[in-house]
Amino acid sequence: MKKVLIANRGEIAVRVIRACRDMGIATAAVYSECDRAALHVRFADEAWPVGPSAPRESYLRIDAIVDAARKAGADAVHPGYGFLAENEDFAAACRDAGLIFIGPSPEAITLMGSKTAARQVAIKAGVTVVPGTEEPLAESVSDAEVLEIASGIGYPLMLKAVAGGGGKGMRMVASAADLPGALRAARSEAQSAFGDGAVYLERRIMSPRHIEVQLLADHHGTVLPFVERECSIQRRHQKVVEESPSMVVSESLRRRMTSAAASVAKAVGYTNAGTIEFLLDEDGSFYFLEMNTRLQVEHPITEMVTGVDLVQWQIRIARGEKLTLDPEALLTPRAHAIECRIYAEDPDNGFLPSPGRIQGLRVPQGPGVRDDSGAYEGGEVPIFYDPMISKLVTWGETRDHAMQRMRRALAEYQVRGIRTTIPFFQWILEDEDFKAARFDTSFIDRKLGAPGRGPLYPIDAAHEDLATIAAAVQMFTKPVTNGAAAPVASRWRDAARVQALR
């Protein structure tokens, strides 16, 4: 393998470029119109345009990406996560074009990509699934019929896209009255995200934790599971904080969950990196939820506690190498790692997306800190893609140590010019329940929905004073940037005019 084309953008494209460079493999990036100056383009050895900014016209264009790989003379394609990473047609198109797809076979993607088919695989492999519909409910199935089926499962229940992932096309339904609205929203979101509006129903486990098991599987029959990741901290079904290991998974539970995960993967002849997601009930029983047939966003925490470079192993497996890792070491976490997904969203304004130009950026550094980012000072966060700009990961000798380092790293992190979820994580890190690892998947939505809640993470008087002093000094001493010293007051008049026009 001499050259890898990375069929993705943002932080994950940068992550894959780094792995390739570590291995002495050349890299080719692809980019849409608005991503011409994105970090992954700047980092790659070469870059190929694949179309306009809308994902459908660029990063989701199988023909354009395979064409770019051919023109680049790449011999392999890494899909990252999202976009085409779990698209069996893309994996097949790569294979047909003589390119190595760094991921599982198109057949495994197809099988596990259907959430209902994946449930059947798990059942056959002897792994328990959450009770629910075993057949997909196509868009042609009427509301009345879905209501009928739902009453058989009972409320509350979860409505999920058959082609789903990343929380899209997923809704919690508390009662029959909410079902039609939730069904409409889930189908529409699933249709636009995955091109398939089919959904299925699952009984809702009341206080579950979301625990997942990373796997690597080679082409020689070896499947190796890794120590679990705890991913219960979610907002609107999107993971926002992950950690490894989980504080509630005992050594014996770890053995059972990881071997269940491995048996699901073996049942489909799975190869490359994948993740089995489980719901863990309060009584310690766990249920297969789904399999993600790709590298996960949160893979760095596993790398931090095992020392394994998962992306390098994806490439080595794709080259046909045998897994030579020690299975016991992969199940023995070295201390603790936490990840916060930093989004360009304003937590004090209903988490509305906050795209725009990053005027200034200071990235945390120092012991135990890793920042996987696609952002840079002066760069733009475009409106077209997922608003995640960085994954901040800290490692510590204990969970408390990792949390202390995360607080320190979040305080060092400055992203100026757009609003980010950094204050949201600072608030979570001060929460007594989070600190005690007392939570389930409803933790964030419950805390955010608390009645009479004020600002998420209020600014204290001391910080208000310091900010006031700093702002006054800044105005008093601000350098005039263009030419002659324009009096400060004229800028205020300009500002007043702008205000009057609003």
Binding site: S192, S354, G360, I383, P387, E464, V473, M475, P479
Partner: protein, 174 residues
Amino acid sequence: MNFEVEIGERVRAVGVVRKGTMLHVTIDGTTHIVDARRVGESALSLLVHADGAAQARSVDASFAQMPGGDLDVHVDGRVVSLQIRPAGSFGRQKKAGPGGSGSGPQRVVAPMPGKVVRVLVKPGDEVKARQGLVVVEAMKMENELKAARDGRVRDVSVREGQSVDAGAVLLVVE
């Protein structure tokens, strides 16, 4: 030089005078003696002595002018959004925040650039507070914009499928 600084609802008067190499910053009658060094176009290192104290607090501050008019001050690991203006320069500014819950018509505006995926109401509809009015898709997520209070839909100025800029008025509830 005197400024007014507004944080949330609170407005404070701030005076800055240069005395030798130091700046004297007075807030609400308390004077802070500040040694300020510029470390970037939008960044300052400040050593702040509280009223005559020998001990100085080291404050690393940086700034971003936000599109809505706020100045975001990054200080000590926190972000404080404020408005600052020379004292008395153009009177009290009223923040024209979208979708306030006061009286008068509610103009529902697009909070960010995106695409209108669904309009859930039509002119003349009676709506309840928190009822969904329009769904705007941006950055792969669908965001439902809700009524701030009970009222009647007056104008609907967008249609499904239309792209909208941040701040565009989508509809009005009165």
